[in-house]
């Protein structure tokens, strides 16, 4: 019985190019030789006992337990820097961000989890961000927004406990304030003027923006459907015309000429 498993493959031997650097491995199967009835039984039983030795080894060594008791070990639980849990804005020591509202991240996001709105009346510069909305509920944590951002505004941080009771709260406003970027703010000498240019933003206040967007989307979808239907009708009409034209020429070549005209 054991010979079978070590025998060379009979069908379709591996082509030579596969052998290359290492070659194909066959055989060396740790197969229990059951050629002798009694001996085979004993070997089989021994294999069972060696398995039992492995498991009892772990039972005897409680140090091998790897369970982490999660809520209790919050203090010691350290997630790596790159861990993708929640998108966050990089605010510098003054609390200023660098987002210029270039919308590269919004465009790169595969599923519209980032929605950026600009201030209607910018205080200082030409374009100022109003809200940077990130939808955790539709985010796939692909990290694309972080790597495409030319100013390093975004980062993923390890705050992974983000459950809430209302799913509308899963849309976060990431920027602390609506207003110009750090470089512009730093040019303003007067601290009062700086404060006036900045407007506080609530991290959980994004759902109004999303609802407005959804409304727009519904309207657009209706329009798209109408466009699809029109395109389909046009295609069918074109096809009908072509068919008619294909059938027609034998009978009425003049009619075709009229159509073309």
């Amino acid at each position: 019985m054991s010979d079978e498993s070590i025998a060379a493959p009979e069908v379709l031997p591996p082509p030579e190019k596969h052998v290359g650097t290492g070659g194909a491995v066959t055989g060396a199967v740790p197969w229990i030789d059951k050629s002798g009835a009694i001996g085979g039984v004993f070997k089989g039983i021994r294999s069972l006992f060696s398995g039992m030795k492995v498991t009892v080894g772990y039972l005897m060594r409680p140090s091998t337990v790897i369970t982490q008791q999660y809520p209790e070990n919050r203090e010691t639980l350290k997630l790596p820097d790159r861990f993708r849990a929640q998108l966050a804005f990089n605010h510098d020591d003054n609390g200023y961000h660098k987002c210029t509202m270039c919308r590269i991240c919004e465009e790169a996001c595969p599923n519209v989890s980032i929605i950026i709105t600009g201030r209607e009346k910018p205080a200082v510069s030409k374009k100022e961000i109003d809200s940077f909305v990130w939808r955790l509920d539709s985010c796939t944590f692909c990290n694309t927004c972080v790597i495409v951002c030319p100013f390093g505004v975004l980062r993923f941080d390890g705050t992974f406990e983000s459950s809430v009771y209302d799913r509308r709260l899963l849309a976060y406003t990431l920027n602390d304030y609506a207003g110009p970027v750090a470089s512009v703010l730093e040019k303003i000498e007067d601290p009062e003027a700086r404060k006036a240019a900045m407007e506080k933003r609530d991290p959980y206040g994004a759902h109004t923006i999303i609802e407005a967007l959804a409304e727009r989307q519904r309207a657009k979808k209706a329009a798209t459907h109408a466009a699809y239907a029109a395109a389909k009708a046009a295609r069918i009409a074109k096809k009908e015309a072509a068919k008619a034209a294909a059938e027609a020429p034998a009978a009425e070549p003049a009619a075709e000429a009229k159509d073309v005209g």
Partner: protein, 359 residues
């Protein structure tokens, strides 16, 4: 040292002529004690299984409810009691309800015959071994009915597997029991325990005992449907086998009887092969035997039973499951012939008196 065996049934008999009402009270107390024991035993076993399996697998197991999860089983019981009890629409409702009770009753009936110490035994029948074998067969009826009445193909498959498996392995288990009966010369369980006063049957019989013990353990594990013989449940094959359609209290009956069957098996194995409540005695070495007698017999029984239960758990958390035809082959082609040969050899040993401390 001689052991005064007095069962609860005998005590009731003693009480009956003088004060019949006390006797009735005593019977009621005994019933209460057995029920309490069954419940407690189930709780402990489930907790032990979860902890042992966890540490086999580098886990911690239950840790939250109570100290190291001690109250986890109680919490689970409450959860099971509060769950909705569903009887499928197309099920045979009467049998569906009856099945877990039957399964539980079979286990409970065995429980009263187990000698746990000289004074803790409900009834000591002179046909104890026969009774245990017969009554423990009731369990399979519950499983078969449960699987059939559920009106679910997976359940039916599980029940059929269980039926074939339990009835087959009963043969081998009985053959192994007979070896001990031969050596002890009695079917009475307390008699078998007392016959091991000079040593346990597992080693006194030149190998016959250990072979019979191995067969009994394998066949017993198969009878109580535990891995590697858990084909009736086979969660990766049959989702949950015969109890797929059970929920809440009825499921917990199946669950509890499965665990208590494990206790019954371990208790039987320790009674027959490991001396039951009898301390570790070696022949007539009085000093050694005297030291061993310092531990009370009840504790000896508990220790031995726990050891056997641990062994069964160890099997479960190490081995994969056999296939259904391999299971049958193991029984009819391997265990049964070995069992028969073993029985004949034992008979020869008994006739010739060729075993340790004979007579």
């Amino acid at each position: 040292m001689s052991w005064q065996v007095k069962t609860m049934a005998e005590r009731t008999g003693d009480l009956l002529p003088g004060s019949p009402w006390t006797a009735v009270l005593y019977v009621l107390l005994t019933i209460l004690a057995v029920t309490a024991f069954v419940t407690l035993c189930g709780l402990v076993l489930i907790y032990a299984e979860r902890k042992v399996s966890a540490h086999f697998q580098c886990r911690l197991g239950p840790m939250r409810v109570g100290w190291h999860g001690l109250l986890q089983t109680i919490a689970d019981t409450i959860k099971l009691l509060l769950k909705e009890d569903i009887v499928p629409r197309d099920a045979d409702a009467l049998l569906h309800i009856l099945a877990p009770v039957l399964s539980f009753a079979g286990m409970l009936l065995v429980m009263i015959a187990l000698p746990m110490s000289p004074s803790i035994q409900v009834a000591d029948m002179n046909i104890g071994v026969l009774y245990v074998t017969a009554v423990s067969g009731l369990g399979v009826l519950g499983i078969l009915l449960g699987g059939w009445s559920s009106n679910n193909k997976w359940s039916l498959l599980g029940a059929m597997r269980a039926g074939a498996q339990i009835i087959s392995y009963e043969v081998s288990a009985t053959l192994a029991l007979l070896v001990v009966v031969l050596f002890a010369g009695t079917l009475q369980l307390s008699g078998i325990v007392q016959s091991q006063e000079t040593g346990w049957w597992i080693w006194r019989a030149h190998g016959c005992g250990i072979v019979a013990f191995s067969i009994f353990m394998i066949a017993g594990t198969a009878e109580i449907n535990r891995t590697p013989f858990d084909l009736a449940e086979g969660e990766s094959e049959l989702t949950a086998g015969f109890h797929t359609e059970y929920s809440g209290l009825r499921f917990s009956f199946f669950f509890l009887s499965e665990f208590l069957n494990m206790f019954v098996l371990a208790a039987m194995a320790s009674t027959l092969f490991l001396g039951g409540w009898m301390p570790l005695h070696v022949g007539h070495f009085t000093v050694f035997n005297g030291i061993m007698d310092l531990l009370p017999p009840g504790l000896w029984f508990t220790l031995k039973t726990s050891a056997v239960i641990f062994l069964i758990m160890w099997f479960r958390w190490t081995f994969p499951r056999l296939r259904v035809d391999q299971l049958m082959r193991l029984e009819w082609k391997i265990l049964l012939p070995i069992g028969f040969v073993n029985l004949f050899v034992s008979a020869a040993c008994v006739v010739t008196g060729f075993y340790f401390f004979a007579g």
